[in-house]
Symmetry: C2
Subunit: 108 residues, 2 copies
DNA sequence: CGTGTAAGGAATTCTGACACG
DNA sequence: CGTGTAAGGAATTCTGACACG
């Protein structure tokens, strides 16, 4: 039901050069969006960035917004709101789960 | 019905170093299995290998077979047989499709 | 046969900075 | 603000070869 945690799409395995190919963005742009806290690649022991397919998709969205004149700061605010919404939903679900555990529930 | 051609799992985007981490195999092993025609990474313009998640999964299977004493040549024969089987199935389907087109068919 | 390793070179990536605006 | 670029260095990858067995 929830997203598969071992999902390939979320695995950080793509180098910045490939991401650049995939998105059409320059490496400069990709690194800058990280600086502005819009993407969060992992690092190899040697310090190279590794992105997931989800990151790649988000980078394209970010680039589109910027093309529309949205500033990185605003994009970041949107992202924070999104995150909050998801957290609230998760919280609601958890409460629900606790209630179900406490008072029982028929699953079907 | 068929595998999504734009599937992430099949995109060749992973460098050999990451594949090595993911599989636990040495880069030497990974390159050798390519030499023996068991995996087929793509190349960047610069000549670096790029693997897909499917490749990664297959590499693990290959390594397991080798551990069991199977030789690369035999593994390759198995792969060829597999491919033939798939081709036959595809062929059968195509014939079926042609028959359906020729004489009509109720889909449900 | 399958794998480790040292060797030398080429491609990739990194950071900090200057530039334009 | 967002992006290009030249700069110097470090990490990554490549190939062909020798070694063991």
């Amino acid at each position: 039901m929830a997203a598969d945690p071992s999902s390939f799409k979320e695995k950080k395995v793509i180098t910045i050069g490939i991401v650049s190919e995939l998105t059409g963005l320059s490496e400069r742009q990709i690194r800058y969006y990280e600086e502005r806290k819009l993407v969060f690649p992992e690092r190899t022991p040697g310090g190279s960035r590794r992105y997931s397919f989800v990151d790649v998709e988000q980078l394209v969205e970010i680039a589109n917004k910027i093309e529309d004149g949205v500033q990185t700061y605003e994009i970041r605010q949107e992202m924070i709101k999104e995150k909050k919404k998801h957290k609230d939903e998760a919280h609601k679900k958890m409460i629900q789960g606790q209630l179900n555990a406490r008072f029982g529930v028929r699953k079907y």
